[in-house]
Amino acid sequence: MLQVERLEVDAGEVLVILGPNGAGKSSLIKCLLGLARANAGEARVLGRAVRPSSGASLRNLRRRVGYVPQVLAAHSETPLTVREVAAIGRTGRAGLFRPLNAADWAIVDDWLGRLGLGSLADAPYAGLSGGEQRKTLIAKAMVQQPELLLLDEPTANLDLYWREQIVALLERLYAETGATIVLVCHELEAIPPCCRRLLVLSDGRPVADGAPETVLDRRMIDALYGSRLKLLADGRRYAAVPAGEEGA
């Protein structure tokens, strides 16, 4: 069960929520979007209470928040192109009974181009690699022109090349937009250099909150991953690597 007494994220801040599987990271993100209901307490996003709120006000709030879920919604039956998937981000903002106009599609095409997906715009989404699909979902979130970006393990199930591509992309997005970013991950390697605050969750409770260089130490790595791993830090990038004989 997720139990967070108080957590505030400032505008323009990049918060990474780190923790092992089952720590409650994804549940926290879903509570912020109203996709999961908290048993008690209050979640406020962009100054507004997520619950209780009417369907319309919750939808208005969600339109201001870009969300990249952990699970890729791709199966061979999906007939949508990359451009159409990215356009889902404009769908809520456009409102009912109004088709997406030229300005909406220009925003979609702009973000596809900025994320290096321009040449794949008319390609079937289901035929993309996992990394390209994840990029498309980030484009979908960005075309909402979000004030807050919520990313739930955006590097999950990706190889090292694509993990680094996504980390570099997040770094660039933050530099270009200055958006508030809340990123959930369970690997140290997925923490982008722009992250200046790290929250560690364990069994649903925060166990550390602060700058990555102060939070991440040997004791924390032991607590999170066991004594067989040790911390490597290079500038603002971190990794957990096998400790060798002395750490075993």
């Binding site: 949508l80 769908t91 903002r93 009912l96 088709p99």
Partner: protein
């Protein structure tokens, strides 16, 4: 062939194919093929209880529609995210419940000695018996289908991809999803009672599968699925008349052949692309 006599049959076959093929693009894309079976048995339960309350003949369509729409509303209210149960499982539960209710009602028919022919005719119609009155009913359902799809075109595109993604982007998923389920229940119930269940089940999946194999893009997939449905309905009827074989079976076989052909084209394209 007496064209004047068979013309309403030809029109009904073509329209059933096109309207069901169009709907099938969403049903296959959302991976909910069980919806057709769920809706048809809810309509059966509605018709059975309508008959017990004294309705007969074409009037049984009204309780059948009510049963299908109630099932659609229940499915709309049961959100897989909050219930933590997959949509297809929810449909399976609802299907068994409505089937149980239908058998319960049919048991009462036996006790009271009431004929069940009207009920069975309503749910398992035959294309060869379609008249212009059936065609007008199907046109009404098809117009409703076009209005709903046009009104929620972009929202349905988002939901087709993922209901979670659509909801997270601020799309009114509950409203659009419920509207889609009601539309499905109306279109399928009307088509079941005119052209028959076997044909509808095949038209609900085969044209969409073939379309998805050949084209990518939402609008193109919808259009091609409707065209394949129309070709199956029309071509199946003409083949049946030419060979003097059963119409429903020929439509099902033709739509299956279209899938096989689409698969062969798709496979040869993949090989050429390597």
């Amino acid at each position: 062939m007496d064209l004047l006599f068979w013309l309403p049959v030809i029109c009904c076959g073509a329209l059933a194919g096109a309207s069901t093929g169009l709907l099938g693009a969403y049903i296959v894309g959302m991976r909910i093929p069980f919806l057709g079976i769920c809706v048809s048995h809810a309509a059966l339960a509605g018709a059975v209880f309508g008959g017990l309350f004294g309705l007969a003949g074409p009037w049984l369509l009204l309780p059948a529609l009510a049963g299908a729409v109630i099932a659609a509303l229940l499915l709309g209210m049961l959100d897989p995210e909050s219930t933590r149960v997959d949509s297809n499982v929810l449909m399976g539960i609802l299907f068994s419940l409505t089937l149980g209710l239908a058998f319960l009602g049919l048991g009462v028919y036996d006790i009271r000695g009431i004929s069940k022919n009207d009920i069975l005719n309503l749910l398992w119609g035959n294309l060869n018996f379609c008249r212009w009155s059936d065609f007008y009913l199907m046109v009404t359902a098809a117009v409703l289908e076009i209005i709903v799809i046009a009104a929620f075109y972009k929202e349905l595109r988002a939901i087709l991809f993922s209901r979670v993604h659509a909801a997270a982007a601020g799309v009114p998923v509950s409203l659009v999803w419920t509207a889609f389920l009601i539309l499905t229940s109306v279109v399928l119930t009307v088509n079941f009672q005119t052209v028959g269940g076997l044909m509808i089940y095949s038209l609900l999946t085969n044209p969409a599968v073939a379309a998805f194999l050949l084209v990518k893009g939402y609008g193109r997939a919808l259009a091609l699925s409707a065209v394949f449905g129309l070709l199956s309905g029309l071509g199946g009827f003409l083949l049946a008349k030419a060979t003097d074989l059963p119409t429903g079976a020929m439509i099902v076989i033709l739509s299956s052949l279209i899938v096989a052909l689409a698969w062969a084209i798709s496979a040869s394209r993949s090989r050429a692309g390597r």
